[in-house]
């Protein structure tokens, strides 16, 4: 398949993400320059981590206005796949493509670690190959990863199964001690109502190599490959599936 990795001024996981898609996944991957309105026919848009526009004012607040984001918005509206990682997640929230917002970590400090993430639903293109309840070890590295949303929004997300990932302990319990940044309900990632746009703070693209941070992150990208390659009959079946809690 064909991946597109958006490059904003200040993106800094973009090169790793491109390399991952090309070398590890063996797919075609192209960089999408922020000033470019054209997505060059990619199947999936990846918004990488980093500090777009220096994270000045608010993370993702300025990136959201880049010309490329118009195209990303249309791609998303048409049901195209979009995955926002860390700064990419923040940008998708700022752009209104995902609900809620990400604020300063509870501890007020940047935190770099490997976190245990629980997959809450397999009903997104990026968790298609995972089991609900499956645990992933993924790097986190952010200063503003505390997920917040007003009560109705959060209730709706829970009800519609839009919470895709949660911070959990090794036993899979989403307890406060496992929450690295104070996110409400330990939320680590969410999706839009259409479920084709997903954002998360952890870094699956940095967990694709046994020698660095393990390979759990691959599951998300392999899922997207499988989801795009799935049989039409499946597609139809899914379309009728009511999103579970």
């Amino acid at each position: 398949m064909r991946w597109g990795v958006v490059v904003f001024p200040g993106s800094n996981d973009d090169r790793d993400t491109l390399r991952m898609a090309e070398r590890t996944l063996g797919d075609e991957a192209i960089a999408l320059w922020h000033k470019d309105r054209d997505l060059h026919g990619v199947d999936c848009v990846l918004l990488p981590g980093g500090f777009s526009y220096g994270d000045y004012l608010r993370c993702g607040a300025m990136a959201r206005f880049s010309p490329v984001m118009e195209a990303v918005g249309e791609h998303a509206k048409a049901g195209g796949l979009v995955l926002g990682i860390c700064n990419g997640f923040q940008t998708l929230c700022e752009a209104g493509l995902l609900p809620g917002a990400l604020i300063r970590n509870r501890g007020l400090r940047f935190v770099c670690d490997v976190a245990t993430i629980r997959v809450e639903t397999s009903d997104t293109p990026f968790t298609y190959g995972c089991r609900a309840g499956e645990l992933l070890q993924l790097p986190i590295k952010h200063g503003e990863g505390c997920y917040v949303a007003d009560e109705e929004t959060l209730a709706r997300l829970e009800a519609d199964g839009q919470v895709v990932f949660r911070y959990a302990d090794r036993a899979g319990r989403s307890v406060p001690e496992a929450n690295p940044n104070g996110s409400l309900a330990n939320v680590a990632g969410v999706c839009n109502p259409g479920r084709n746009v997903v954002g998360l703070m952890p870094h699956p693209e940095h967990a694709v190599d046994r020698l660095t941070a393990g390979e759990d992150g691959l599951k998300l990208f392999r899922s997207a490959q499988a989801w795009l390659g799935r049989r039409p009959s499946e597609a139809r079946r899914e379309a009728t599936v009511v999103p579970g809690p």
Partner: protein
């Protein structure tokens, strides 16, 4: 139509977590400022507007806030033009 100074105050919405406000309040208490409460930390943005009539200026700055300076999901904003509320 000369230069207008606009001041924008961006504060965390009531009910939205304010980790910074909490931290500052705690530090102030440990520093012995026991009388302090309800600390909220937000942003203060100062800017100059050139050759804009006062009556349009307000609308312009509101536009800036809604589009960029504040995030309506988590923040409220207030505007002052040349020191008086707009």
């Amino acid at each position: 139509m000369s230069t207008i100074v606009a001041r924008v105050f961006v504060t965390p919405k009531r009910g939205i977590l304010d980790p910074q406000g909490k931290a500052v309040e705690n530090s102030l208490h440990t520093l012995g400022f026991a009388e302090v409460s309800d600390v909220r930390v937000g942003k203060y943005i100062e800017l100059k507007l050139r050759d804009v009539a006062r009556d349009v200026a307000g609308a312009r700055v509101r536009g800036m806030c809604e589009q960029l300076l504040a995030n309506g999901v988590i923040e409220d904003f207030r505007i002052e033009l040349d020191g008086s509320a707009a």
